[in-house]
């Protein structure tokens, strides 16, 4: 049961914000702005370097919570939030951690649905928080029981 996993945290996972990965990502979201991909433009900016698009943290690793096993089908990404202390810099190291924040169920027009709230955090090499990310994953009852959806 997901409820028993509330409060579980992963071990931190180390990421490096790679220039090539940021460029590919910026292009894939149709936002290849110089601040993300052009080294000169980054140097000339107020940041003195390139930054990553605000949704880039979705690509990073945050460690695994072994007990968390999600069904492969019947999942809906319901909500997504990012909160930043500052922009994410190209080239920096980010330590990602994931935590199960909440799980609750609601009955609606599609039957009983489960809502899993997952928080992820990214901290820099000095241990300062850069961003938090929250996802709400909606799990329908059929998927939860392991039935074909």
């Amino acid at each position: 049961m997901f409820k028993e996993l509330i409060g579980k945290r992963s071990a931190p996972s180390k990421n490096v914000i790679e220039r090539g990965a940021v460029k590919k990502f910026a292009e894939a979201i149709n936002d290849p702005a110089p601040i993300y991909i052009d080294e000169k433009a980054g140097k000339a900016s107020r940041y003195g370097r390139n930054i990553a698009p605000p949704t880039f943290p979705i690509t990073l690793e945050y460690g695994a919570i072994e007990e968390l096993v999600l069904p492969t089908k019947g999942l809906i990404h319901g909500e997504q939030k990012f909160h930043y202390k500052r922009p994410l810099f190209v080239g920096e190291e980010v330590y990602g951690v994931t935590e199960i924040k909440n799980y609750y169920e609601r009955t609606g027009s599609f039957g009983k649905m489960g809502f899993l709230v997952i928080e992820r955090q990214g901290t820099d090499a000095q241990g300062e928080l850069i961003f938090t990310e929250e996802q709400i994953i909606i799990i329908n009852e059929a998927a939860r029981k392991g039935m074909p959806v």
Partner: protein, 139 residues
């Protein structure tokens, strides 16, 4: 482009209409994001999942929407970006990106943001809190 400080409550950032969504858009996003869930790229898998066709990654749409704020990176940064995924996005959909300033508080500008499809449905909506680096006259 209007400077962020000149935008008044009730006014919009310049909205942007995107070219029709293609399969290649989603294949590129799958590669760039690492999200290879096949309902986003392979027809059969989408059909098997009970969908009428392949659907865009919600995060692809959310990623595109943020671009309305990219011209303002020298003025501040996105402090909060919160989105609800409301409707599915299919191949050939024509999406429009929108942001309206609804609240101004010291160095924060709060926007209601949405992506609307060709039928006028909001496929995603939410808020962006943009934090300005300087407070202007307040100092």
């Amino acid at each position: 482009m209007t400077a962020m400080t000149e935008i008044k409550v009730g006014e919009s950032l310049e909205q942007m209409q995107m070219p029709p969504v293609t399969r290649l858009d989603l294949i590129k996003y799958a590669g760039a994001s690492g999200d290879f869930n096949p309902i986003h790229t392979i027809d059969e898998e989408a059909t098997n999942a009970g969908l009428p066709g392949i659907i865009a990654h919600g995060m692809w749409t959310m990623g595109n929407l943020a671009k309305l704020f990219t011209p303002y990176v020298e003025d501040g940064f996105i402090e909060d970006y919160a989105i609800r995924f409301r409707n599915m996005v299919f191949i050939d959909d024509v999406l429009t990106l929108q942001a309206v300033l609804y609240k101004e508080e010291e160095n924060k500008r709060e926007f209601k943001v949405a992506v609307v499809n060709q039928k006028g449905q909001e496929v995603v909506n939410g808020t962006v809190v943009f934090r300005m680096y300087e407070v202007g006259m307040a100092g």
